[in-house]
Amino acid sequence: MSAAASLARAGGVVLARATATAVVVSAAVFAAVSALPSDAADTRTGGRASAETLAQLRETLGLDAPLWQRWGRWTTTILNGDWGRSLVTDRPVVDLVAPRLQATAVLTAVAVALAVPLALALALAAGTTRPRSARRWAAFATAGAAVPQTVVVAVLVVVLSGLLSWLPPLSLLPPGGSPAGRPDLLVLPALALALPAAAWAGGLLGGAVADAWSAPHVRDAVARGVTGWRLRTRHVLPFVLSPAIRAVAVVTAGTATSAAVVETMLGYQGLGELLVTAVAGRDTPVVAAVGLIGALVVVAGTALADLAAAVVEVRRDHR
């Protein structure tokens, strides 16, 4: 098979898989939201309305139809570009989500930009051939990945803004303002997201790096006196590329969706913070929209990584 044909085949498989995952994920998100105890009718009336009023309200909001019908209606309207209106504030979901999406996208980008070099450095350290030092770095990576995000945030706030007073303790964005104008507000949440992610990815890739180090051509290069960056960039890293691309994709998607904790703790008005508020208010369309966006980011990220890895592997197979 030619390189182009195998690439097209791999691309087709990746796209089909991503589409199927997106459909399943949207159904799962919708089902999870519907399974929440109490609904928007309860929230709107503050729990004081009579059963009759509630039933009427449910009918106007379309909450009385069976689950699969509501899911079908919801997905068709979304595919038509209409994300619905918030059940609580009655504003269009798009207006609520768009600025939050931008804020979270910027935060995620900065966090990933910090995490990737950190993870690579950690992977190289944990995958070294000196067994004692390798064990130490691998333990460091495991410990780093195991620390709960809340603890990371707390420690960073105490050190960076409490003891050192370098940064504001909260990352409150100005109303309607974008995070691009206030880089100082991004530092705390980005670090809090990047450090555990880097530890996780670094520990994971350490194994791949160790495998690459023990490859015969790397041992031969060492015996010929090739060392340092020359050895790492030319003989070791090309063989870690494929797992690294996948790890970066998972880290990116994970950061985008797990930002909720960090955003809530630091008051950063991103998508995650919106999700937490919307769940508290049983604002189904908003929860579903945010949940779906998060899930789609994960699906798209993994698909991109699969494609990139397929390119690398096809190039290797057709060497």
């Binding site: 051939t129 051509h217 031969d220 010929r224 006196g225 060497r319």
Partner: protein
């Protein structure tokens, strides 16, 4: 002067056993020194200890390496010395070349490496090989590419580990010329590891022997083959990746040893891989025991057992996590359905027959020498009691005594009906053969040696 002096070199393994005890070595400038010894005697370990690149598990516990009078300290100083003053050709050249790189890039990693004259001197056509990647080279071509890289820049010390293991007589002569020229033109010293007595005695000024059991090879006797055809190949053609073979028809009978010889790069490995089911693009008919041989994924369990393949690079064919004995025992359990105990005793028995003791069987591939790995792979193939053995260079890394033992084991199995088709450059294996198929351009022609009445039926 740029002399290498080694005094009292001691290497211990992880359990505190001495692998090398007190090796002395003198390589004066512009001389050729050879290290010989039986398979597993530590020839490659000497070279690795001198270079300070011992694999994990081995430690240099004593001794001194001096270069041009000054000691070479292990660590950074040794790295600098390796980069500036040495050129290395390691064992198993196919896997030591970076698999993603073209030959051109591989050679230009060393200054002056991609020099056309240097390739021509080793009978490599730059136009043909420069754009290929290691997996597109034959074993012999890869060895010569690695040699061209090792000699680029004319290093003051050239270290060659089995430089001719995949080469035929003509190319071996080219390598000998190259080493001789280094000495005559005063380009530098050469430290050579080889089990090939002829090659060593023709070249070396001085030989360091790590306990040889004597040279001289006596081919073990095997009964004449029976008339029963095991492998029948009819009009076999291989045109991919490049035209290699056209319309080959031959048979291998029960108990027969047929060797395929031909220049390096002619396609011997591809032929064996095609029969083993690892290279699917061929035309023609291949039958084993009267039934057509299907491609590997659709091959019946009986055929999987009956046809065993011995690859050229045994290191790549062994799972690095499995100990030698379990690798062999596993084949017996999977292919013959033996119980764990019976499989282990069958494995130990076969390993002993190819002169590997139980302690060696306990090691993992990385801790075995090149010749030991070659014998583990052979034992793994034979334990399945195949009808046909496809062997690619089964004796290339073996000294005379060990090669005798290995060929003796093959003779025993042939007496019980095993048919062997082997690709080789090794004259010792050719001497044992019932028939020789010689590769000329893209055709195989039969050269009958031992049993003229039984050969000759194929063209």
């Amino acid at each position: 002067m740029t002399d290498l002096t080694v005094r009292g070199l001691i290497v211990h393994d992880g359990r505190g056993r001495a692998v090398l005890s007190g090796i002395d070595l003198d390589v004066p400038a512009h001389s050729v020194v050879a290290v010989t010894g039986p398979s597993g005697s530590g020839k490659s370990t000497v070279l690795k200890a001198v270079l300070d690149v011992l694999p994990p598990g081995l430690r240099r516990t004593g001794g001194e390496v001096r270069w041009a009078g000054a000691p070479v300290a292990p660590g950074r100083a040794a790295v600098r010395w390796r980069r500036r003053c040495t050129g290395l050709l390691a064992q198993d050249p196919v896997s030591t070349l970076n698999p993603l790189w073209t030959v051109e890039r591989l050679l230009s990693e060393v200054e002056g490496g991609a020099d056309a004259a240097r390739l021509h001197a080793l009978d490599l056509d730059p136009a043909e090989v420069l754009q290929r990647r290691p997996h597109q080279l034959s074993g012999g071509q890869a060895q010569r590419v690695a040699l061209a890289r090792a000699t680029a820049g004319d290093p003051a010390l050239l270290l060659l580990d089995e430089p001719t293991s995949s080469l035929d007589a003509d190319t071996t002569r080219l390598v000998a010329d190259l080493v001789r020229r280094r000495r005559e033109e005063g380009l530098g010293a050469t430290l050579l590891i080889s089990h090939d007595h002829e090659f060593v005695s023709a070249l070396a000024d001085h030989v360091v022997d790590l306990g040889s059991t004597g040279s001289g090879f006596t081919p073990p006797a095997a009964p004449p083959p029976e008339d029963d055809v095991v492998l029948h190949v009819d009009a076999l053609g291989i045109a991919h990746p490049v035209p290699l073979l056209h319309d080959a028809t031959f048979e291998v009978r029960r108990g027969e040893l047929v060797v395929v010889v031909g220049p390096s790069g002619s396609g011997k490995t591809t032929l064996l891989r095609a029969l083993a089911g690892l290279h699917e693009q061929y035309t023609g008919l291949v039958e084993v025991g009267g039934t057509a041989l299907a491609p590997l994924p659709r091959r019946s369990r009986e055929h999987l057992r009956a046809v065993q393949y011995l690859p050229q690079d045994p290191f790549a064919a062994l799972n690095p996590a499995h100990r030698a004995t379990s690798a062999v025992a596993r084949a017996a359990r999977v292919l013959l359905g033996l119980s764990r105990d019976r499989a282990t005793s069958a494995a130990l028995e076969l390993l002993a027959a190819v002169r590997l003791d139980a302690a060696t069987g306990h090691r993992r591939p990385r801790q075995l020498s090149g010749g030991q790995r070659q014998r583990v792979v052979l034992a793994r193939a034979l334990v399945a009691e195949p009808r046909l053995l496809l062997a690619d260079e089964p004796t290339s890394a073996l000294d005379d005594r060990t090669a005798e033992a290995v060929l003796g084991v093959l003779a025993d199995h042939r007496a019980r009906g095993l048919a062997v088709l082997a690709a080789t450059h090794d004259p010792r294996l050719v001497r044992c053969a019932d028939r020789v198929l010689r590769w000329r351009h893209d055709a195989l022609s039969d050269e009958t040696t031992r049993h003229p009445t039984r050969g000759g039926t194929t063209r």
